[in-house]
């Protein structure tokens, strides 16, 4: 027999409503431009996701259907693409995204100390965002700058020859 309290009823209208979502004119325009590079619209999938992410910081669930419609594939197919690639963020990220190389050359030259220093300075672990929304910390595979290991990227900037002591000064440059 059910033990649920029969007096508790949830009305549909009480549930949080999905936020209305529309691609901006700029986003649509940039996606159109991207579509022009390919004979088949599907090829613009990743480019379109990246455009939306560039403007919003990440790709919210609500963005999938309108992007898919623009490029002419189903929302489910685009969702499959959006969840495959590691540089498409499906949850909000901080103002700055730190991508720390954990591949072999950086591992051999001190990745683990860099990781520890970052986690200590930021007070978060890999995959997390600081409470002030300033930084998100992510691992990334080989950044192709192995001669300067250990390396990381903050947003679009590459930083090499990192030292655990130098991390806090470096982070200060990103407000």
């Amino acid at each position: 027999m059910s033990t649920a309290n029969p007096t508790t009823t949830v009305k549909l209208s009480d549930l949080p409503k999905a936020q209305p979502f529309a691609l901006t004119e700029t986003e649509r325009h940039e996606i159109e431009h991207e579509l022009g590079h390919y004979p088949d619209g599907r090829a613009a999938s990743i480019g379109a996701l990246k455009i939306v992410q560039q403007h919003r910081g990440w790709v919210p669930d609500e963005a999938i259907a309108p992007i898919a419609e623009m490029i002419g594939i189903s929302a489910a197919e685009l969702e499959g693409v959006a969840t495959f690639y590691s540089l498409i963020y499906r949850r909000p990220v901080g103002r700055h995204v730190i991508k720390v190389c954990d591949s072999i050359s950086c591992y051999l030259t001190g990745y683990e100390e860099i990781k520890t220093s970052l986690e200590k300075n930021l007070g978060i672990g890999m995959g997390q965002t600081t409470t002030d929304n300033r930084f998100t910390l992510l691992p990334i595979c080989c950044l192709g700058a192995c001669d300067k290991g250990p390396t990381m990227m903050i947003d679009d900037d590459l930083h090499g020859d990192l030292t655990p002591q130098g991390i806090s000064t470096l982070l200060e440059k990103y407000s």
Partner: protein
Amino acid sequence: MSLEQDLLVKPLTARINLAQPQDLKAYEASGGYAALRTAIKDIKPQDVQFKVKDANLRGRGGAGFPTGVKWSLIPMGPDSGAKYVVCNADEMEPGTFKDRLLMEGAPHQLVEGMIVTAYAVGACTGYIFLRGEYVVAAERLNKALAEARAAGLLGKNILGSGWDFDCFVHTGAGRYICGEETALINSLEGRRANPRAKPPFPQISGLWGRPTVVNNVESLCNIAPILVNGSEWFRNLSQGKSKDGGTKLYGVSGRAKRTGVYELPIGTSAREILEDHGGGMKDGYKLKCWLPGGASTDFLMPEHLDLAMDFDTIGRAGSRMGTGLLTVVDDKQNMVSVVRNLEEFFARESCGWCTPCRDGLPWSVKILMALERGQGRAEDIAQLERLTRYLGPGRTFCAHAPGAMEPLQSALKFFRSEFEAGVAKTPVAA
């Protein structure tokens, strides 16, 4: 040495300027786009293919397949329809940092290589599949493409020849597997980067089911110099050190004194690369072992240093030259931890398409972590050895898992005692 002379010895790096790469004008003043102009005016597409074949250029992406032979599998003739040239600029093999240098330092040389390759195989469109993190390269390549387009070297009716070809930069969004050429094609089409079955090979059915040639950045940057200076010149660049032609971008990373990229005759010994150019190991560190060209190559030992770094020689020694950039492991490293780092990478980057790779790689990581903590079980080492077979060539859909097994199997061969030391003295519960 003047730039002109330098280009005859170091055709790939003579023009490199990372602070300010040559613009179209400077590139043309140093002989740039001469190969394209000559080819379009005087050389038949098939003869361009022949010259590249004759130069003994082997693909610089890691597998070493002869570039000219790859092109010759593309159907030719007036009815061959839409064809594509794709540049694999998804440089993500751990320990590899050469293509970044070429794209950031001399973008026009790659663009010219793309256009000449397209001419040789009759392609209508080209894509440079560039990893998303290479933002500087993207900007510089887009600028070079725009300059070439404005000068009539790209686009409709190139140099008045009646031939149309345009080229675009396509940036990726992460995932190592995109470097596998059929996964790259799927990704370029806007799909998940799962590899495709081969055959059919991309030369027959590639991008959008059309004939497609996929070449690495370094391979393509060699094309214009081959046409300008001739196949014989290119073959002789190896100075008799190898029967392969050309120079090669070699490099060293890890705890060496002067880590970096150096352009040297192909077949230069690993010792010369590490000791003369890389300055040897840093003070206080000794060489324990080395990866010849990326994470997916077998470890070699200090006694292998005198081997010529070319595809055949390193292959005979039980490894692969791969991308040719050495990763040196120093004597302070524990091999179980080093291999754990490598296998964690491969496990994370598996696309998940086939079971041995998707499940086998995390299994190897789990075992390696137990051994690292000194909590391994007696049967763990035999299990790792079984995995190297179950995930080996022929057992998986693509080369990802077999590549992952190369450093594991060689570490087990050379450093077995370090793995055995991770087995717990008193048995650990299952």
